[in-house]
């Protein structure tokens, strides 16, 4: 009895610190990057305008990464998210130009994204395609092709204020005074979605089961977890997030263009990996992925401010991925050695 009462206070703290260590590492990287950028570009980087810009620019990738993260936790992968984002963007633009109300256009984009995600999940579980790589590679091409077919290959510009509000709008918090804070709507949406997914993955049964499926499919089966249903759910979530990302992008650039999101799945995957999720499944947190997306945004912004060419930017992003995963490997090794 006494032992029982003495231990509970001590153990959760341990869990917290192990968790914190991993997350703080990423948080420190973000702080470090911001400090360096402030020192290097004092007149450009720390301005409200630039920071708002970064927040807006990372939004689409952050939302794509969030959906990708949920899939990666199951040891899966969704290659279709970039194409689905493009498709969603064109669907928004075309339905608006066909005279639909904004609300319906947004719902249509969400439905298309979720639909492709559902298809991915069902192809994996019902058609028994050997690896999610296959199904989502197929839908990557199908969705991109559909985007070109629908749009005839030309951009469609001029969207409604409502749609622009989600992608480019701002809200003012804490009044107009000294504490006034202007926040991009898209970034608020990002934070809301991350909070929701964090809650879902860390605090609900289904989230726990998704982690279990990724950690050990057999354990999930023995525990009576419906693996297929959870997999379909996970791909549907990823598709829905790609739909949201398309809406945010459409609102930001006030148009839909058929090449949008080409290769964006790789940026999303990069954010997930930098954020500490493992391709082997069962690992990672929404918080980490959020920081991963921010790190990529800061990197792009800083390199732009310093006039580094996009080609070098790509090289650097590659190096960052290597570094992030290697640091994680070192951290795991250190954890193992300590006891």
């Amino acid at each position: 009895m006494q032992i029982e009462q003495a231990t509970p206070t001590e153990r959760p703290r341990l869990r917290l610190s192990a968790d914190l260590l991993g997350r703080m590492g990423l948080g420190l990287v973000v702080l470090l990057m911001m400090t360096v950028l402030t020192i290097l570009q004092p007149q450009y980087f720390p301005t409200r305008e630039n920071l708002t810009n970064i927040a807006r620019q990372v939004s689409s990738n952050a939302v794509l990464a969030l959906g990708e993260f949920v899939v990666v936790v199951t040891a899966g992968i969704d290659l279709s998210v970039g194409s689905v984002m493009g498709l969603s963007m064109i669907v928004v633009a075309m339905s608006l130009h066909a005279g639909w109300m904004s609300g319906f256009a947004l719902l249509a984009a969400l439905a298309v994204g979720t639909g492709v995600g559902l298809f991915n999940g069902l192809a994996l579980t019902k058609l028994h395609l050997p690896h999610p790589f296959i199904a989502t590679l197929a839908t990557l091409n199908i969705a991109r092709g559909a985007t070109y077919l629908l749009s005839g290959g030309v951009p469609i510009s001029g969207l409604t204020p409502t749609v622009r509000f989600f992608g480019a709008g701002e809200v003012h918090l804490f009044g107009e005074g000294a504490l006034a804070l202007t926040f991009p709507v898209s970034f608020l949406i990002v934070m809301a979605l991350y909070s929701l997914v964090w809650l879902f993955m860390s605090k609900t049964r289904t989230g726990r089961h998704i982690y279990a499926i990724g950690g050990s499919p057999k354990a999930a089966q023995y525990a009576g977890i419906n693996t297929n249903r959870n997999l379909v759910l996970v791909y549907a979530v990823s598709g829905a997030m790609a739909g949201v990302a398309g809406i945010l992008l459409a609102g930001r650039v006030n148009s839909g263009y058929p090449t949008a999101g080409t290769g964006a799945e790789l940026d999303a995957i990069a954010a997930v990996i930098i954020g500490g999720a493992s391709f082997f499944g069962g690992r990672g947190s929404a918080v980490g992925v959020f920081l991963g997306a921010i790190i990529m945004g800061l990197l792009r912004n800083g390199l732009n401010l310093m006039n580094v060419s996009v080609f070098w930017q790509q090289v650097l992003i590659g190096l960052i991925i290597l570094l992030a995963v290697y640091v994680d490997v070192l951290r795991r090794r250190a954890m193992r050695l300590e006891d």
Binding site: E4, P8, A212, G214, Y222, G281
Partner: protein, 246 residues
């Protein structure tokens, strides 16, 4: 009274491999049954048919007097059948408590949402481990960082955490130290005292002889022996296992 479990003429094939070829198997109320046989005799497969992990290709399953069909381990667990699997089947990335409650998490309602009751599970899990005298270095670390024997203890804890009517243990002591293995046998005896039936699969025949009321021998997917404890001797068992006595 009908036995708690009755499996009749169970057949299970994996492609060309016929793992179980028309085996009968039963467990009475409060009885401990030893299940022995050579490697590949079909012991694990037969028990996985009983827990719904495998669907039989033939035969009938009766539980507590009723013909049942377990579509997955959810159904069998709901009926009160728990199993320690030979490969343990723990989620390596989750901690021991999460593993004990996997698939049966406690939840509470918060602002209209069903959220995990971590504190309650932690407390109940600790109490259960305490009762089983299982000591783990940490309940916060993922199971992958425990030793083989510690992980086996977690699997045993999971199978006994909920009021079961039948606990099946497939090589539960395979990687346990002598003292820990003795505890598992003691645990099986304690289960019987509480009226809970048990099946013990083990290659350590002495262990099986120690705790079983009855011993069933499988040979190439068929039941070749069903001996009450009094009639079972090491020699007879070994003879049946290697197939000389038939």
């Amino acid at each position: 009274m009908m036995p708690l479990v009755e499996m009749r003429q169970i057949v299970k094939t994996f492609g060309p491999v016929m793992a179980v070829r028309g085996a009968d198997f039963s467990v009475n109320h409060g009885e401990v049954v030893g299940l022995v046989g050579d490697n590949g005799a079909g012991k694990s497969t037969l028990m996985k048919v009983l827990t719904g992990v495998h669907q039989p290709d033939g035969g009938e399953l009766w539980f507590a007097g009723r013909r049942v069909h377990f579509g997955s381990s959810v159904d069998s667990r709901r009926a009160g059948i728990e199993m320690v699997y030979q490969d343990l089947g723990l989620a390596e990335n989750l901690n021991p408590i999460a593993n004990i409650f996997l698939g049966r998490e406690m939840t509470h309602s918060f602002a209209g949402l069903r959220l995990l009751s971590e504190a309650e599970m932690d407390q109940a899990g600790r109490r259960h481990l305490e009762n089983l005298q299982i000591r783990l270095p940490s309940l916060a670390l993922p199971v992958e960082r425990l030793s083989g024997g510690q992980r086996q203890s977690v699997a045993i804890a999971r199978a006994t955490a909920f009021q079961a009517r039948l606990v099946i243990m497939d090589e539960p002591a395979a990687s346990l130290a002598v003292a820990e293995a003795a505890k598992v046998l003691l645990l099986i005896k304690r289960l019987r005292e509480q009226g809970i039936s048990a099946v013990l699969i083990s290659h350590r025949l002495q262990d099986v002889l120690d705790v079983s009321d009855r011993i069933v021998v499988l040979n190439r997917g068929l039941k070749v022996g069903d001996l009450p404890r009094e009639e079972a001797t090491m020699e007879r068992l070994v003879g049946l296992i290697v197939g000389k006595a038939s």
